[in-house]
């Protein structure tokens, strides 16, 4: 875990209102694994840090993906190349992409694209063929950077690709990884109990001490999205107790 003042390098739009922010954070870029996140703080900004899955890395840079969902994310998007962001990470427990499965399906809804580029990279390195199924409400909200041996698009209104949810468009695969709204992940859990899913929760500290990011477990009790998560085996989560949608998310 590192705490860095990370200069903002660049910003690009990858869907309507969805941006990728590139930060210079060498130690984090070199150690982060797919599904892990960084906790960002800035001044003047909100009191608490905000968690973001690491989207991509390149050299000393990490990227996060976000939409302006509130005052905090709007401030982050207003930053220019001279600004710095306090960056704590890498945090959490990411995807298990050990060699074995021959094919993986990455299933992402909206901002759920966040952990997938790193997951695709690690899956390919482990010898898997990668199918990425990416869904959104409409074509304008699809992230333009989905990639893989095969890419399947899904939109609720049928404006691009499959008309329906990303989950219903997923082909057979040895392994399923998913990230998106919790109600989408609950649907994933019904179909693939073994899937690895990255959940979204409110988060306080990001380091395991505040117990604010409680994830209800099927076996009873709670653990911490920031420490044991954010990636879980789908059937291990008690989905009926996890809030279905949050204004900001670990995937955001």
């Amino acid at each position: 875990m590192f705490l860095l003042d990370a200069p903002v390098v660049s910003r690009r739009e990858v869907a309507r209102g969805m941006f990728v922010l590139s930060l210079d954070a060498p130690q984090i870029a070199q150690t982060v694994r797919a599904g892990q996140f960084v906790d960002l703080g800035w001044s003047p900004g909100p009191l608490l840090r905000r968690p973001f899955s690491v989207y991509k890395t390149e050299g000393d840079r990490i990227e996060v993906i976000l939409k302006a969902v509130g005052a905090g994310t709007a401030q982050l998007l207003a930053m220019t190349a001279r600004d710095t962001v306090s960056c704590l990470g890498p945090l959490g427990h990411g995807f298990d992409l050990a060699a074995g499965p021959r094919s993986v399906a990455l299933v992402s809804g909206g901002l759920g694209v966040a952990p997938m580029p790193l997951a695709a990279r690690e899956a390919r390195a482990a010898g898997m063929s990668v199918t990425w199924v990416h869904g959104a409400r409409t074509v304008d909200e699809l992230c333009s950077e989905a990639e893989g041996d095969e890419v399947i698009w899904a939109t609720d209104d049928g404006s691009r690709g499959f008309a329906g949810t990303a989950v219903s468009a997923v082909p057979d695969a040895d392994l399923v990884l998913a990230c998106g709204p919790n109600r989408m992940l609950a649907a994933v859990a019904m179909r693939w109990p073994d899937a690895q899913v990255a959940v979204e929760t409110y988060m306080g500290c990001g380091t395991g001490v505040c117990l604010g990011c409680a994830v209800p477990l099927a076996r009873g009790g709670y653990d911490r999205a920031c420490k044991e998560g954010p990636v879980y085996r789908a059937e291990d989560v008690e989905w009926s107790m996890l809030p279905a949608h949050l204004p900001y998310a670990i995937s955001a």
């Binding site: 380091t207 409680a214 107790m241």
Partner: protein, 304 residues
């Protein structure tokens, strides 16, 4: 010049006046980035005698300059603490107090008795101020007789230092403070969180599943400075100030207002080195104002 930052809090000698507040530091085994030399001590996450699951999510929500939490004292219970954490604490060079909770005065006493003598447990902070449990907690903190009964129940079961953590949700904190002092408390921690509420305009329901939560962070600091000061004026035992401290300047306000030490809580969530920053900043202030020790810092504590 090396500043003597040590303080004596009710029989417990601390190397510095900045402690980690309960519920913001876990059991001390996380927060790896903190320079631990700065820790005067640590108060563990609050525990009950038996394990507790805590409240369903959402458990936290950010508010202007603060946050509401309703964790519900999720924890491993006494046996889990003794097995998993106390052996580590016994190796550390700063004292760990255990924040203890119960649904009855007897249960507080029983928990103290179970932990008394366990290596690594240096003292107790009685939590009579948690707003996030259905039974006990805050109930004991807003009635002087109940506060005294809990303090007495713990005092009878241990010779270790006993601190009592007070709630701000009272008409006169001095009355509760004196009741705890008379029942044998060695020190007081002032204050715990304020009870607050936040409503989601989309669902038209409270944002927290517990409906209400404890408000912490800079939003409560001036309120906390005042209440800690009121408590300090009411008793002759030391008062440990808590409430929205993020910097040395914030901590110095509490110290000057009559507190012997301070606890840093929510700030650690934002800045994992907050405790070290506060500790070093206090030392720098003392040095630049010509004080050789924290004990020389003048206090604003007029007696009635």
């Amino acid at each position: 010049m090396t500043i003597d930052m040590s303080v004596d809090i009710g029989g417990l000698r601390l190397r510095g006046p900045v402690l980690a507040a309960s519920g913001t530091f876990g059991y001390g085994t996380e927060v790896p980035l903190l320079e631990r030399r700065a820790l005067g001590g640590m108060v563990s996450k609050g525990i009950f005698l038996r394990p507790r699951a805590g409240t369903p999510p959402p458990r936290i929500v950010e508010t202007p300059s603060g946050m509401l939490n309703s964790i519900g004292l999720q924890g491993p219970g006494a046996e889990g603490l003794i097995r998993d954490y106390a052996p580590q604490w016994a190796q550390w060079d700063f004292p760990v107090l255990v924040n203890i909770n119960g649904e009855t005065a007897d249960e507080y006493g029983e928990l103290a008795a179970r932990l008394d003598g366990v290596a690594g447990v240096a003292g107790f902070e009685i939590n009579i101020s948690c707003p996030n449990v259905e039974q006990g907690g805050l109930y004991f903190g807003n009635d002087p007789r109940a506060a005294a009964a809990v303090t007495d129940a713990v005092r009878k079961r241990t010779d270790l230092p006993v601190w009592v953590k007070l709630t701000p949700m009272v008409t006169d904190i001095g009355v509760i403070a004196r009741a705890c002092e008379a029942a044998g408390a060695d020190a007081l921690s002032a204050i715990n969180t304020f009870v607050g509420m936040s409503i989601d305009l989309n669902t038209r329901q409270p944002r927290l599943s517990f409906r209400t939560g404890g408000l912490s962070g800079p939003a409560i600091r001036p309120l906390a400075v005042h209440l800690a000061h009121q408590a300090a004026r009411a008793v002759s035992i030391p008062v440990v100030g808590i409430g929205g401290i993020t910097s040395a300047e914030d901590a110095l306000e509490f110290l000057i207002a009559g507190c012997a030490a301070v606890q840093v809580g929510t700030a650690t969530f934002v800045n994992p080195s907050a405790i070290a920053d506060v500790h070093d900043g206090i030392a720098a202030y003392l040095a630049s104002h010509g004080f050789a020790s924290l004990a020389e810092l003048p206090r604003y504590l007029p007696r009635d």
